[in-house]
Chain length 251, copies 8
């Protein structure tokens, strides 16, 4: 119940068309979401036109299809499914217009929205093993209406490769830096640009990587300003935040 | 050497006014900083009008004064000094127009710039012991030209206190969530709003706080979208990033 | 044997009426279990009418059936089996009146006792992935005679969902807060109510969850009074303790 | 605004005595605290007659006195100050009826309430170095109206000392087990009794104690049912929770 | 080459029967083991009559058989194989007199030596899940000629079970305390007896057990004198050390 | 009280010859301490002639003197004080025959007992910074009647220094290996000898020593048989256990 | 573009044969790799004649073959494939001259280069379980043209085995010390020789090995000079660095 | 006793000039250091002309002077004192030709040796706070006869600063990369050059630096080849190893 609806309800009460007791019931039953919060349900998205999200891990293919169907029945929105198993993709694709990317385990039902982000989002990785997480970030950003530039395998141990893409790096409005062993990527990029850098440590690696801990600590300790960090392997979170920043209007 | 200067140099060579060997020397001597990077020095700031920063920890009061004086001699900019010891403040204030805040250990030499940020930055804390870090973030944001709303002691164990400030929370363009024991603050705020939330874990606490580790892990594991994390106690980093986002222009 | 009896015994020995060997035997054999402790065997339960418990993990289906049969032969009590593999359930169900819940891996042989707990126990979870542990807690509490209210998926990142169930939360006598990523749940609930909150961190999650460590630390650092913590994934322990508190008589 | 008040407001709207717009405003302005929560402020205590609490660490003696005075001005309640520095105690005692215990750093202003807890709370420690934390728990419980039995230095490495106090242990309604090196205390006590055991790990120790981590892990891994854990050194939290349980009424 | 042999060699040189160059070669080729050390090869055992040991993990069944055969060819000694896979046992048993225990994964080829240990070794466990490690310790001790008393499932959460076996505990010359969750076992036993207690933490458990870390830290922090610790799950090491102590002669 | 006696007692009660209250009293009072344990108080020592021990850390000089005086009044035994501050030593020496070693912070009141240990105890260290812990072990062993051989600074990085003392090493009945950085010492010694090696990790070091963790883990992972570990810096524990083993009689 | 090429380009511009705009384009397109760096691509090797490397983990057999083929098409160099699955080896061997070692998972396509290293590289291991990592180091060194001496199973717990190979150890120009449980190997070797020792901790082990952490910490804390450490299990890195040092020319 | 001396001894025996028993004694008394090791004492240095080293931490000023005097009395060598307190420096300087650097706490007695290293050693740091450790490395390298190039404050967050010194970086024979927060320095340098890079993590930093752990893990996980790591803050170790490599002769 938004502000307008609440006003309407009170008008109805004032006009005698709704009994106070009935209004009371409505106000008590859903005490919170009716109080005019901008964001009534994080699962339903923030603005009209935005995609729905399903976290696919731990859900059966039947559950996923059921949720997709219900969402699609309600509206024509795009539905984004993260961490979707290949079998679930096969199953859902039988009855829904699904496009699926096996690398990132991302499934998208429906049309991608038009690109209404203000600038470009650069998604960069240190190595090829970071691609699944990077693609999760990139595809998430695309589903939310952003133009994404992928700069993969530009790790700091081969600085010239990064330098070859300096123009693209400098033109970014937001950068998502995905790296496992080489948490250094976020620092180096953060030192080159003056836009926000969202660092995503990945659990990919070996030895004293400790499931992403080395990259996480390295990124948190970045000396470059404008760098912040999301959880290990959280490509979706980075893509979502990048899109949020890329859609921020000026004055 | 920017693109234009490089073109000029080549034109000079073509015109015979600069010998190829001399051009070679120039191109070799400063191979990097002349290639047109927007951000040649992270220490010199990004745009005209922005404040200079000195990290005060580990510097003597004489060193701090020396750097401040040099910066002031060059221009009329504001200078921000973080982690400044009280004795250094007394010393610098003798010859420079310093305002100093003992709580956050922040010193500011010169005038605050006009508030040219697009929206408001909310700095929220879970408890009173997080104030020093929160003030470092808040004052940093102010020095960079932002309007800051302080919501202190709104920890999730007393949810009603947060709710009392719902309007201010909802009106933020960026939120900095500072919390030690209660890393939960970032999650709860992130669930309420649809703007970026920058989480700052603090080392303040006792028991199994482990120097901020509990809050850090809690914030990284936030289920709310739009939350990212900076280093433990890094109020400056959060304030700087918040300002960066708050100054992003629309299309 | 009290001091006086010991003195008597020694006098008897001194007088030749008790042989030293016999006295020795008395003093050394079975000194403990016969001495009238209220709780002679933690595995046999505390009061008549209470269920027996078998920790199913690491036991073969034959072993489980054997123990169940022995317990049932001795009395008509209910038997609770935790961490029971589905195959063991199929096997035991062939000869015993077993009801089995695959989600929580809980098996119950025999009738549930009547609900003799004083109030209601609320079991709340932050997300759907915490359900197995939550159900272990809930079913354990039910087996011990409690009325259980389940509030699942009320994580703090969607505060309105928790608020929708405020009446149920406020009416609890004990709350079990089960959460993996969002250890914040215990803090927020602990801040709302004035009854004991038993926090159960779960190992479910990803990234810097570290097998439940993030939720564990977050819960231990809760700023809300009345919150205590059991081991990661220990739904049984929480349900048992909740039942113990819910059965405490007044004066 | 409780249910009755909300009903009244709606009636006023229905009767035309309150304009819908004005009702809207009221419903928006204070969306939360008016919704009938039992516990509007965790800092003000839960029931009449209960003590106020001030966390003294990090507060100046002047701040503590100021808060104490304000609380005392409002009512005649007892005020409990935890982690109070000796100098603050001297300062506050000049103008307030303070009793102060240097060991536990607990200060109490005003009279202790009458003992209205239902049973006895046993506070046990493994060694003498755990006394400060144990006294914080014990005094907290006393301030909240409980009879406390202290069993100090009954660590499991000298089992006979614990056995000497079996009667007191068996007669407890709640037990607080405080131990640093010997986290085993909670397990052994939990195996003897059938009442809740609240375990408090302490940071006191040396070697691989790691600031209380060894006791914390040991207590979390207790095999005894009915044991839960609070934060390292959190004597106040344990005493408060023990009191909460000890005041729970029967049917 | 022992002292006598070295003396002989030098005598041979003095007598002209061995050329200095040849003696030089002998002394250089095996510079170490010839210098009269008591323990020339840890793999070959210390005294005549002692069993050989093969660490079976990571070796193929063919490799194990090959080593066993070579050892048996050389002498009639007993061969102990630890961490032996069931398939390897089947394979070796085809051609060697192997007795194999599936629980402890211990295989023994040949006859057990006569029990020449001075006293009894008690192997105690906290729970049934610690049995594999405990059996590894017990069988190792038996292979080295010790009488072993097994006290399984005497965890401290059920103190009366331990007390039922007080006589056996008090009569031990060495105790091996094996425990996973309940590292407390070592402390309690160490407090009861005045013989060496060798503590073996096990990785068996769940939650914040962290692969045996909780028990390891608990055991290291034991307040009882006479307790020392071996590596997690190192049943062999404990059994070997227990045997070593149990064979120490008096003056 | 055995099963028969319990049955008799209950029969007596049934027959009216024993009042229930009296039976209750018998069953509940002082069940334990009268049962004739060999080791009634771990603080009083195990055998006649053995020294008393006071853990001096955290005790005031007055408390230490008081305990010493009480012990001395009771008997003529030696009293060992560990972790004794220099000021406490000065204070106690005024009225007691104290010898004090500032390095190890060990104080001894009274005569050293005659050396009745069976063999020699070797205390070896890896570096000079491990001396305080090593001396705590050595002096403890001496106070308990052992002959101690000190081999200091024989770290494995200078193997020849260890080799220079091979005779002394080979002649030990028990070895205490004290090392901080170089946990390797225990492994190398354990590989050379066939007597028990008690490893003591020390917290002395720098870098990734982590308060003794590196040495602790290294020692636990020793591949040499016969090695066990005590807590970090626990020289007393090692010396005590070494003495216990060194006093074990043969058949 | 090397120095010469840059000079040529500038000469072309001076001569009017290349337009300044075109030169500008060339200089901008590849801003970095043309500036005369010695090492333009870490993936392409440093000097002519050196082998190419493919990190096989996480690549499909088709991808590996494709890369190998492309490399071989370009030149006749040797190609080294690390962490290569047996199936990939079978697949690649069908069309390429592959030699494959299952133990180290190393594949080599083409001829081994001639041994042009200056001295010998000794690769030593503490136990047999470290062989896979040691072979990765050894084969890597061989592929880069070094003579390798393997000293396997010379752990410090059996010092005489190491001493048997003293001559080989003393004759090394670089030593690679590979050890899991026994990180001590690096210290002992480092103390014996005066050449660089590269320590490789391995994750092989059990108990408190914690995935190689124990060996890693032990090696970092080595007291021997000249020891440095690479990542856990990083045999390739150690072999590569050893080769680099072994090819360093004198003046 | 080297090979020649051993041969001589045997010849003497053969010639009857030395009795076998006497030879036996000699061979037994010093079994180790006589066997021809190149490096009999790590404390005495490796080659003539090399400096002696004293680790100053934990030694009194008197002890340091005493050792220095003894060393100087024996020869004219240079003596290097690391971790030397300023007071010790004042004290030693009174009677010895000491030069002391307060930043690195390095003292040098006597003349620096001539620079006989083959190439240049570059010591680079990420920030100014890493200077003490970097100077310890640099001064150590100088004392051992190397030419050192210092590149301080060239952290990766300001890449252009590193690029300004590309020529010096490329000309290094060995690089020591010292960094605290920014462990990335080693990776970036390792990617640019093809000489050994010795990485030294420093404990300087704040937040989730955890005493150098973040830099340590980051450096261990470097993707650049040729990088190895020494202990946290171990500037001496890095300088020593760099010198060792820089003195390696070619064929």
């Amino acid at each position: 119940m938004n502000k307008q609806e609440l006003e309407n309800l009170l008008n109805e009460v004032a006009a005698g068309r709704v009994a106070p007791a009935e209004a009371l019931l409505q106000l008590r039953t859903e005490p919170y979401k009716d109080l005019g919060f901008a964001k009534v349900d994080t699962h339903r998205g923030i603005r009209q036109g935005m995609a729905e999200v399903i976290y696919g891990a731990g859900k059966t293919k039947e559950q996923i299809l059921q949720i997709v169907s219900a969402m699609r029945a309600e509206s024509e929105k795009t539905v984004l499914i993260t961490r979707m198993a290949p079998e679930a993709a096969v199953y859902v694709a039988e009855s829904q217009p699904l496009s699926y990317d096996e690398l990132s385990k991302i499934g998208i039902v429906g049309e991608l929205p038009r690109k209404d982000g203000i600038g470009k989002i650069v998604v960069a990785t240190g190595g090829t093993s970071d691609l699944p997480v990077a693609e999760e970030a990139a595809k998430t950003a695309e589903v939310y209406g952003n133009e994404v530039v992928r700069l993969y395998d530009v790790g700091v141990a081969g600085l010239h490769r990064m330098m070859d893409h300096l123009d693209e790096i400098m033109s970014a409005r937001v950068i998502v830096a995905v790296a496992g062993m080489e948490g250094a990527l976020a620092s180096v990029l953060g030192g080159l640009v003056d836009c926000p850098v969202i660092a995503v440590p990945t659990s990919v690696g070996y030895g004293a990587n400790f499931g992403g801990l080395s990259a996480l600590l390295s990124m948190l300790n970045s000396c470059a300003s404008g760098v912040s960090v999301v959880n290990i392997d959280n490509g979706f979170g980075a893509g979502y935040l990048a899109s949020m920043i890329n859609h921020m209007e000026g004055k």
